[in-house]
């Protein structure tokens, strides 16, 4: 089921200084996570991943994902501690047409003489806030026993 990305996440993807990591899985189930600076959010709220290398491992794993309905994961974070994970499905890959051609021109304008193999459309299905403070708060509310005793001691070591 598709889910919406909030404004914070969209802004984070728009920021060139954010770190974006796309994780896919190969045919043997091995994860493959790689930093991918070219991930955007389109007007429909889907993630657009620009694949620059035709025969990359990520590309092959994405092909397998769209063929066999497997999920992928995208993480985005910045130095301020904002950190989100989006799980979703590749639903389309563009190798021609106006959207593809727009990104082809754009990526060459930014990087020079590079190629663009495909624009992958990833539909978000689950959004997880990975900010450590948020995760701690959630954890303590849900699992109050999951903590070391020294943290509760009268005299802090």
């Amino acid at each position: 089921m598709a889910t919406k990305l909030n404004k914070e996440i969209i802004a984070l993807f728009s920021n060139d200084d954010s770190t974006k990591v796309l994780a896919t899985v190969n045919e043997h189930g091995y994860p493959h996570a790689a930093a991918k600076p070219f991930i955007r959010v389109d007007d429909d709220g889907n993630l657009l991943y620009l694949e620059l290398v035709e025969s990359s491992r990520t590309q092959k794993n994405l092909v397998r994902s769209i063929w066999f309905d497997q999920k992928v994961s995208v993480s985005v974070s910045d130095k301020s501690g904002q950190s989100w994970q989006i799980k979703g499905r590749p639903v389309k890959t563009l190798i021609t047409g106006p959207i593809y051609l727009h990104h082809y021109r754009d990526v060459r304008k930014r990087l020079g003489d590079v190629d663009l193999s495909a624009v992958w459309v990833i539909e978000p299905e689950e959004v997880i806030n990975e900010n450590i403070q948020v995760r701690h708060t959630e954890e303590e509310a849900l699992h109050p026993l999951f903590r070391h005793l020294d943290r509760l001691a009268k005299i802090q070591p």
């Binding site: 092959k60 397998r64 190798i95 047409g97 051609l101 021109r105």
Partner: protein, 417 residues
């Protein structure tokens, strides 16, 4: 949902049954095969959303299943970026419908949604003319990422009534010439100008393919055909800064001297010479012209020798998949046909020649016009079998893959290689 959608009932629910039998086979590739196998019919509803950005049917080497030249969309793209090369088919033959679902074009079968599809985008050069006043779309036809040059669509085997029995090249050429004014032989300068114009569209194309009918004339067999290709490729090459450019020539089985000339004197990078059907007796029956002038074993040997010139992974042979089951002399069982075809393909793969297929469509202008192509299950197993050989022998198919060609289901599987 349109009226047509409700009227047509599918008499085959073959797609889902086949996918249940082959869970490891990608559904989208099976959909592509089946749309090629059965053809498509565009509903009136979907044609209402076709605008000027859509590539309409342009000159092609072969005709369509309905035997007509109509102003309809060229073909379709699936959401995995793969191309479906299919053509309009009479409703009586039970094609897939291309209809509107939620305002978007989709493949529909038996009233059931199958997949959303996109039309091919029209390249900008399609609206231009060469300096000699010919529509550029009549000179070079486009696929989503490839440029096709059909420089001469006459095949000399037909002159002796020895044309391949599945082929309608000459019938269709005459029809295109009469109805559209498409020249049956192109001038290198017109081709070069058109390619130059196409290259002004950044990101639009990744390869060029040249093909035409066989020309047996010349001092040595096929010399004139080779000469024409060299002249054309050199004219195309004027548009590139590098000597070599991604390209495929689908041509007759040339001898080593001819192949060396093509490789050394032009920018050509890939060579395909179609055996069309594997197995000597089937080849002799279905391709009598090729059998008479070259012969099955020599055709194979010429492919193998081409590997020494173009390199492993840059030489292949195309099959008209399924024609080995044509009546009355074809295989009588799909099992037998598959076993024989894959054994022969392996003998080529061992020597660095890759084999790929297109789905056989019995066309009205061909000798086999009244026949029926095999089951979807057969085509799925053929695609998997050819792909498995490519894996086993580590044979790449970069020059003729889902993007640079798009017409080979087995080649689509190689996206995972």
């Amino acid at each position: 949902m349109s009226v047509a959608l409700k009227l047509v009932e599918s008499n085959e629910s073959e797609l889902n049954q086949v996918l249940e039998r082959h869970p490891e086979f990608p559904r989208l590739v099976a959909v592509k095969i089946d749309a090629q196998r059965r053809g498509v019919h565009y509903t009136e509803e979907v044609l209402k959303v076709v605008d000027d950005s859509v590539q309409m049917r342009s000159p092609y080497l072969f005709g369509s299943r309905d035997g007509e030249i109509k102003d309809l969309p060229e073909s379709l793209l699936l959401r995995d970026g793969s191309t479906i090369l299919t053509d309009p088919t009479p409703l009586a033959q039970n094609p897939y419908l291309v209809d509107l679902i939620d305002g978007k074009p989709a493949l529909v079968d038996g009233g059931q949604f199958v997949e959303f599809v996109d039309f091919w985008p029209k390249p900008l050069y399609y609206d231009k003319k060469t300096s000699t006043g010919i529509h550029m779309s009549h000179i070079v036809s486009a696929r989503p990422q490839r440029l096709n040059v059909f420089q001469s669509s006459y095949c000399y085997f037909w002159a002796e009534e020895k044309g391949c029995k599945f082929c309608d090249i000459v019938t269709h050429t005459k029809q295109q010439k009469d109805e559209l004014g498409v020249p049956s032989r192109l001038k290198p300068q017109d081709i070069s100008e058109t390619i130059g114009e196409a290259l002004k569209e950044p990101g639009r194309f990744t390869g060029i393919c040249l093909t035409s009918g066989s020309v047996i004339k010349g001092q040595e067999l096929f010399d004139r055909e080779v000469e024409f290709y060299i002249e054309t490729l050199q004219a195309i090459g004027e548009n590139f800064s590098s000597k070599k450019f991604p390209s495929e020539l689908i041509a007759s089985a040339f001898n080593e001297k001819q192949l060396a000339r093509l490789y050394e004197q032009t920018g050509l990078t890939g060579y395909t010479s179609d055996l069309e059907v594997l197995g000597e007796d089937k080849f002799n029956w279905i391709c009598p012209g090729k059998a008479k002038y070259v012969g099955y074993q020599e055709w194979k040997q010429r492919l193998v020798r081409a590997v020494d010139i173009f390199g492993r992974g840059n030489v292949g042979t195309g099959l008209v998949g399924g024609v080995e089951l044509a009546k009355p002399n074809g295989f009588t069982s799909e099992e037998e046909a598959l076993k024989s075809t894959l054994e022969e393909a392996e003998s080529l793969a061992e020597n660095g020649v890759t084999t790929f297929y297109i789905v056989w469509v019995p066309r009205p202008g061909s000798y086999f016009k009244d026949q029926k192509n095999p089951s979807l299950d057969y085509f799925v197993r053929l695609a998997q079998g050819l792909h498995d050989l490519r894996v086993k022998y580590k044979l790449p198919i970069d020059y003729n893959d889902y993007r640079r060609c798009g017409n080979h289901p087995d080649g689509d599987l190689s996206r995972l290689l």
